[in-house]
């Protein structure tokens, strides 16, 4: 059986490639996500309540951290042909509004059979890892 010719552009996805950027979550982002998601839990809105749970300030919604996976697949890859098909994220430590955060991803698997990609992702603050996850995408030029 003859192999299919590789599709132009696929070669730009190299296992081990790393992508990263800095970002922060602002008050407006929290408000917009609260409205969008319907999650009104005071852990994310009320400083006193957050302190009662052992945090110094309201905790950034975890899915706002995970939102950077959307940017990864939709915006930061070598082209616009990838589509997110799965993600998983574990949250180890909280982020707070205004923190200087970092997102970085590494391409760990590239399947030539299915033109699919798997990334390991992290959200960091300084040297601390706040969240780890994986993102899966398919590439359809």
């Amino acid at each position: 059986m003859a192999d299919a010719a590789p599709i132009d552009g696929w070669e730009r996805y190299v296992v081990g490639m790393r992508i990263g950027w800095a970002f922060a979550i602002g008050v407006d982002d929290m408000t917009a996500f609260r409205r969008l998601s319907g999650d009104q839990n005071p852990l994310h809105t009320n400083p006193e309540f957050a302190r009662s749970k052992g945090f110094n300030a309201p905790v950034v919604y975890g899915l706002l951290l995970a939102s950077q996976i959307s940017r990864l697949v939709g915006q930061e890859l070598p082209d616009s042909h990838a589509m997110l098909v799965g993600l998983a994220m574990n949250f180890a430590s909280p982020a707070f509004v205004g923190n200087e955060l970092g997102f970085d991803a590494e391409l760990v698997t590239r399947s030539d059979a299915t033109y699919s990609l798997s990334f390991k992702c992290r959200v960091t603050r300084a040297d601390m890892i706040l969240a780890r996850g994986t993102a899966d995408a398919v590439w359809r030029p």
Partner: protein
């Protein structure tokens, strides 16, 4: 590739299918195709192929995957890739 080889491979593939389709009742045979398993759509197919590549440490090409019609074809391909065809 003997009948015992095929049965052994089905035993290895069954948990992969059950994980991908999130259904512990999935039973596969060499004749099983996408028509036989609910939810075997294009995205599930991608998850299935990539899971098999990872679990069995084999790599397929797009042409090889496109030519598969049932689990029997898949098993034949796996054995050929491993040099036991």
């Amino acid at each position: 590739m003997s009948d015992a080889d095929i049965l052994a491979m089905i035993e290895r593939l069954t948990p992969v299918f059950r994980d991908v389709f999130d259904d512990d009742a999935v039973v596969i045979t060499p004749a099983t195709s996408a028509d036989d398993i609910q939810g075997w759509d294009s995205l599930a197919h991608i998850r299935l192929v990539t899971s098999i590549e990872r679990v069995l440490d084999v790599r397929f090409t797009a042409a090889e995957v496109a030519a598969l019609e049932n689990v029997g074809d898949l098993i034949t391909l796996i054995f050929r890739k491993r040099g036991h065809g």
